[in-house]
Amino acid sequence: MKNKITKYYPLIPLLAAYLLLLLIGKNISGMWQLVAMLIFYCAMGQAFNIFLGMTGYVDFGYVAFMGVGTYGMALAITHLSHIKGLGILIIIIGFALAIVMSTLLSMAVGAVALRLRGAYFAIATIGVNEGFRFLIEGARIWNGSEGLIFTAQLNQILGRETASSLMTFWADIIVLIIAVLAAFVTLYYMKSKIGYALTALREDEDAAKVMGINVTKYKIIAFITSACFAGLVGATSWALKTPYVFPPEVFEIHYTIEAIIIVLLGGAGTLLGPVVGGLIYGISKYYLAIFMPGFQLLIFAPVIIIIIVLFPEGVVGMLKRRVKGSALAKFII
């Protein structure tokens, strides 16, 4: 019994960090915007980490899942808003739709890409976000390149006041919940057979196969999980905070880049890495934007290179080494 509880100790520093963020955001005026942004980055990073961190494969088209999730919520709101009395149920349907669509897209991409090894996988995924965007624009589905605007429908469903508080506060809380859920699932995977299989295939895919591990199956599990959380983040952070969706915006490779920075900086494959990475990146970007706007990628691109060459384990990875054998080791993974 004791064993079971100690398994979840690493969540404590995670929850503590988020609690601190919440307190700062609510009590210091003007900080909520920054806190909301940090929560977004942590959530995006946590979801991305489930795949990149645990399998060692880079999905360059990652943002596609966030975009698809955004569309899921947007479509639910746009098409169901006229049904009276559904109210908040529509938002729930929106989440469900986001999960379904992310799952479908990840299964479709995964069916091709996950059979491929490292470099070929990267090639296969690099066009996914663009490809999907051009499908929407090219075939003019879901209103094509004009996108969807649903501020009015959102007001209609929830009433102006609720809608407003959703957009400025409650959506961020939901993103926070998603981040915590993603962390929970990450930890669960890590401690279960799935985690062991993923570690094995990340280290040495061929040896893993000989050990009896069906690597494709586990890659798919990680891939779909990561995609679903990405979809939920998109549905909330994008659709619910800013009630419109334009294809070029929600399929921009920029977000994938940021996710990569966050996960690598914090420590790929660690539980706390995305939080640390999200905080460092988010805070840097926020303050850089004040003094040198538009510069953050110029600074972080060489940072990634330096991390890859000199500190591939990231911040949390290095911390893990330091605390090895001590009492803290149970909390930092």
């Binding site: 296969a124 051009f134 990569i260 990634i304």
Partner: protein, 295 residues
């Protein structure tokens, strides 16, 4: 009349394809020798475009002369990046080189944005048109096509007739064996990487001869995907395969655009780009080593 149009279309596709193909040769070379996928490929093409832009608009140097300059710059960049970063990542997992080249691409985009700004630029190189019977061609495009074919031939000669080229070929076959024969494998890697980057930057010049507008720091992204489709078509490791893959791709792209433009209710440009992505997935599904390769 229709036949003429079709023929004209075909030639357009081939000419563009030659340039696309040449633009992909560097990618295939780097993968073939170092087994590294240069995910930042498009950014280097963009650098070539800006070199052309700057040389033309600021110094009045015509694009044809910009090609060797761009090539030299590319080789320089390649050497620097190889010796500072890539060399240390030989033993690292694949993930590392993918992310390193990706980040390099981003760095280049941001640097160019810093220096030149993010507006769309272009240049105006007036060299007239030529009538080749079925269609009228801007001379610039023809130069670009000829230039591409020329470079492909030069590469072939280099690989097969020079000592350095043969050394690289033997490294590809068997790096341990080459090492034992006294070949400087690390040097071969550095040379191949730099050559690949040089080719890519030079191709940026040729591409602007084809499309001298819309030059901006983020123009590379679209070309990266196209390059991957072409590279995979031609067999990821073979620069010549890439060239022919480019021809095929040029035909497909042109042809599909024409067809899509005839369909109601669709956006032909966007749909064509979606199609190239589908082709990529299809090839990876059926024959990842490339439809045109012999493996």
């Amino acid at each position: 009349m229709i036949l003429e149009q079709l023929a004209g279309n075909l030639i357009q596709g081939l000419v563009l394809g030659a340039v696309y193909g040449m633009a992909t040769m560097g990618l295939s070379l780097i993968f073939g020798v170092l087994k590294v996928v240069n995910v930042g490929h498009g950014a280097f093409i963009m650098v070539g475009a800006f070199v052309t832009l700057w040389l033309f608009n600021t110094l009045g140097i015509n694009p044809i002369l910009a090609v060797p300059v761009a090539f030299a710059i590319g080789m320089g960049l390649g050497f620097i990046f190889y010796y500072t970063t890539m060399q240390r990542l030989i033993k690292a997992p694949e993930l590392a080189t993918l992310l390193a080249t990706f980040s390099l691409g981003i760095l280049l985009e941001e640097l160019i944005k810093l220096i030149f700004g993010s507006e769309f630029r272009g240049y105006n190189w007036v060299v007239g048109k030529i009538n080749i019977g079925v269609t009228v061609f801007p001379m610039a495009k023809l130069y670009a096509c000829i230039g591409s074919a020329l470079i492909a031939v030069l590469l072939y000669l280099w690989f097969n007739k020079t000592r350095a080229g043969s050394a690289v070929r033997s490294v590809v076959e068997d790096s341990e064996g080459a090492r034992v024969c006294g070949i400087n494998v690390g040097g071969a890697y550095a040379l191949s990487f730099s050559l690949g980057i040089g080719l890519t930057v030079a191709s940026g010049v040729l591409l602007t001869m084809f499309i001298p507008v819309g030059i901006n720091p983020y123009m590379g992204g679209g070309y990266t995907l196209k390059a991957f489709v072409i590279a995979v078509l031609g067999g990821l490791s073979s620069p010549y395969g890439a060239f022919f893959g480019g021809l095929v791709f040029g035909l497909i792209e042109n042809g599909s655009y024409t067809i899509f433009a005839l369909l109601p209710g669709v956006e032909p440009f966007a749909l064509t780009r979606f199609l190239s992505f589908v082709i990529l997935l299809a090839i990876l599904l059926i024959k990842p080593t490339g439809i045109l390769s012999r493996k």
